[in-house]
């Protein structure tokens, strides 16, 4: 499950708030930060979870696509590593 700081960053990526504790009631909005409601805050946990799941799905799909392209060239991920490419 998403954490409170992730939800806050999701809802207000430009900051402008302080949260003491991890509840909506502990949030103080600064002047430049448009407040959001408790309902929006609570609903955002699911939205962040969904975004994280989608990011994982996209990452896996991108990997599969890249591997398919490599295979079409007769290469593998190990071949790329041998060339000093492809990370650790």
């Amino acid at each position: 499950m998403a954490k409170s700081h992730q939800v806050l960053a999701f809802l207000r990526p430009n900051g402008g708030y302080v949260q003491v504790g991890q509840t909506y009631e502990g949030i103080t909005f600064e002047e430049q930060c448009e407040p959001f409601t408790k309902a929006e805050y609570e609903a955002a946990f699911d939205l962040v979870d969904a975004a994280k799941a989608q990011a994982e799905t996209d990452k896996a799909a991108a990997k599969a696509t890249a591997e398919a392209k490599l295979a079409a060239l007769g290469l593998t991920a190990d071949d790329l590593k041998a060339l000093g490419l492809g990370g650790n």
Binding site: S4, H5, G15, V18, Q19, G21, Q22, E30
Partner: protein
């Protein structure tokens, strides 16, 4: 129980060897008892080979000793996404017993920073009441925390930073010390979470006698 005097030839300690409340019986040599007069209130007895009885009373040193200790632990997560100085929740209050005392602060601040960028930065102030006594912000924008990974698109940084500071509050009034912090920038979703996930931060105040 009855008491009485022994004869002159008897080998026993006479009650007249002591003269006052608190007097002790010591020895100046083998088989040679002697009176050691009581010390003054608060003194301690120490071995002292220069004294006739090998013992003497002395007074504890009045300076450099710890007069009291105040310690506070907080686990309340405090998420700061602001460039304004904000209380971190790390605070403690002490009432010095003497105006000449010094206060030694030992702070351990737990934090988690994250940002969708290669670097994270935060500034901090240590305050006595409303007075800044240690400035990790500064006119030159020096940072308290700064990490740059170079080229990363996301940065997470977890730490327990210590601050030790010796203050001279010059008061016997109740005095509150606290740590405040702020971000260098809120861009790229940067935040700093103190007591992240309810991890403890502590502040300990030691009053040191002058």
């Amino acid at each position: 129980m009855s008491t009485g005097r022994l004869g002159a030839g008897d080998t026993a300690i006479q009650p007249t060897i002591v003269d006052a409340k608190g007097d002790l019986i010591a020895a100046t040599a083998a088989d040679t008892p002697a009176r050691l007069a009581v010390g003054t209130n608060g003194q301690y007895l120490k071995a002292d080979s220069t004294a006739s009885t090998g013992l003497s009373w002395d007074t504890l040193p009045s300076s450099g000793k710890v007069l009291q200790v105040v310690s506070s632990t907080t686990t309340t997560q405090t998420n700061i996404a602001s460039t304004s100085m904000t209380d971190t929740g790390i605070t403690a209050t002490i009432t010095p017993t003497a105006a000449t005392s010094k206060i030694l602060m030992i702070v351990s601040a737990n934090f988690y920073m994250n940002r969708g960028s290669a670097s994270v930065a935060a500034m901090a102030l240590l305050l006595r009441g409303a007075t800044t006594i240690a400035d990790f912000e500064g006119a030159n924008s020096a940072e308290w925390i700064y990490v740059n990974s170079g080229g990363a698109t996301n940065m997470e940084y977890v730490g327990n930073y210590a601050i030790n500071y010796l203050d001279s509050p010059n008061t016997t009034s109740s005095t509150t010390y606290k740590l405040q912090a702020r971000l260098g920038s809120t861009a790229n979703s940067q935040t700093i979470n103190f007591q992240f996930g309810s991890a403890p931060s502590t502040i300990t105040l030691l009053e040191i006698g002058a």
